[in-house]
Symmetry: C2
Subunit: 320 residues, 2 copies
């Protein structure tokens, strides 16, 4: 029998999603388990495989499964390990041979990479980057992740950890402190959390009126979006600033790999033109002449609820 | 008969060098013609081929030549054209089908790219990057050029013009004006001309004593090197500043492609530790933890007088 399906697994800090996907990118069936109730990687793998086996039975058994793709924080494609993933309760300061643990238990090949690289493969296989050989995926979530595709292949680099564009420098002097230990990282300005941080800083440092002042507790990027959408001037300026920072960085990324497009994914990417316009404006203002108005900025075409599973699953089609 | 040799041609603004190279990277014979005495590309090609044919006769004729590799400003690998090369007297605002003009005249395959990409291929074929699959070549000459190698292949990008790292932003606000029209480009700080510019600015803006004040005319990077080498404090600080700017940018480049090494080439690279120490220090201070003290900064191992020919010639070995 043909092996017609692949499995996509997205390991998140709180929840891990599992799905079975066909060649057209349809998630046939999915479920999830808690990630953070485990402190031991092997026990987590055991529970994950139990949940997965239930799904596999419903599509006719393991004989139908070509392979498993996994997107995980600090996932290393070359070694199949999850390394020093401090955001995972069972991650710790070690390298967990996650792909091997899974393939030993399931008896099918397993590929593993980080979530942003998985998203790039997903977009190339099922989404907005279909047919593209050179593009950069930027995920705008609580952090800023990236997956770089050159000549149709994800760039993993010498050690498997290439593509950390959220940790390139957006502000060189007196930049914001980043969780990674550096300062001025793009992520501290352009993630959902970075945008909310801009809002709080600007509200604190001026008396400008804004509906954002009515929000009692911690302002979120969603609050800023809604305010901007309703025409709040300060909120709109926060989006302009965030887009400007992204566009400036994008110009440097283009100078590196001359992509056909930059694909945006994640919560902030749902802001549409509020973010897109300032990105395009500042990117083009900073590009070399030869690239001005030639680099497309596009949005992911994967359904958000399926995207993490789809991205991870796409890795499995490439398994030899 | 085996086709045992390749031709390397380096097109420079003033002079173009031609050489015949064997598989070990020995330049068997070389010559050069003036580039800037021509205003017509076809006539230049005619003279270039005449000079090349003389060399080819001396190694037994065209039957011994496998192919021709050309490094040229604004050379596009995909199309074989030299595009908008304003520094070439016969370049102008057009795309010259240089590879085709050459292959039509010579009857052997021709590959063409820009000089920094050619240098990267040369280093990978004959030099310091032999055996490396992931590295970045940085040429520190009158400008800052770059050739990026990922998975053993030069990155050309969607349009053939990837790898313009000299035109990434080193200084975001109030950066120096660059010839490219942008401001703050790495090239304006870290090229030989950029370093001399730092010297002039710093001499003008302070009264600090320095042997550089004794130089009657335009200060060059060589003057600054000699002063620093002799212990001049200001000159040493100029090298520290230049290295700091390079190291900061290198940290961003590493976040992109996670190379095994960054290879330095060109006039400024001869400054040795004066430049290397501050580069390493600032790169490591700016890298994510996972890369700290793991990325090698090394110098080109190609003999400077042969390097341009060798780099271009290496392209020809890859011709199918």
């Amino acid at each position: 029998m043909d092996k017609t399906y692949v499995v996509g697994i997205d390991i998140g800090g709180q929840t891990s999603k599992i799905g079975i996907v066909d060649a057209r990118g349809t998630v046939l069936i999915q479920s999830s388990i808690r990630t953070d109730t485990h402190t031991d990687a092997k026990l987590f793998v055991k529970d994950l495989c139990a949940a997965l086996n239930k799904l596999i039975l419903e599509v006719g058994g393991i004989a139908n499964i070509r392979g498993i793709g996994i997107g995980a924080p600090n996932g290393n494609f070359y070694t199949g390990t999850i390394e020093n993933a401090v955001n995972l309760t069972w991650g710790g300061n070690t390298a967990i041979p996650f792909a091997k643990l899974m393939s030993d238990k399931m008896g099918v090949p397993v590929a593993l990479t980080n979530d942003a690289n998985a998203a790039a493969v997903g977009e190339m296989t099922y989404g907005a980057a279909r047919g593209m050989k050179n593009f950069i995926m930027i995920t705008l979530g609580t952090g800023v992740g990236s997956g770089i595709v050159i000549n149709g292949e994800v760039v993993y680099g010498h050690d498997g950890f290439a593509g950390e564009l959220g940790h390139t420098t957006a502000v060189r002097n007196n930049g914001r402190q980043c969780n990674c230990g550096r300062t001025g990282c793009l992520e501290t300005y352009a993630s959902a959390i970075g945008l909310a941080r801009t809002a709080r800083e600007w509200l604190d440092s001026s008396n400008e009126s804004s509906v954002l002042r009515n929000i009692p507790e911690n302002i979120t990027s969603k609050d800023v979006f809604e305010a901007a959408y309703q025409g709040d001037v300060l909120a709109k300026r926060i989006f302009e600033y965030t887009g400007k920072k992204l566009g400036e960085s994008f110009a440097d990324f283009v100078a590196f790999s001359a992509p056909e497009a930059i694909v945006l994914f994640g919560g902030l990417a749902r802001s549409g033109d509020l973010l897109l316009k300032p990105i395009e404006e500042s990117m083009n203002a900073n590009l070399l002449h030869l690239w001005k108005n030639k680099i497309k900025i596009i949005f992911s075409q994967l359904k958000e609820s399926d995207a993490a599973i789809l991205g991870a699953s796409a890795l499995a089609w490439e398994l030899k």
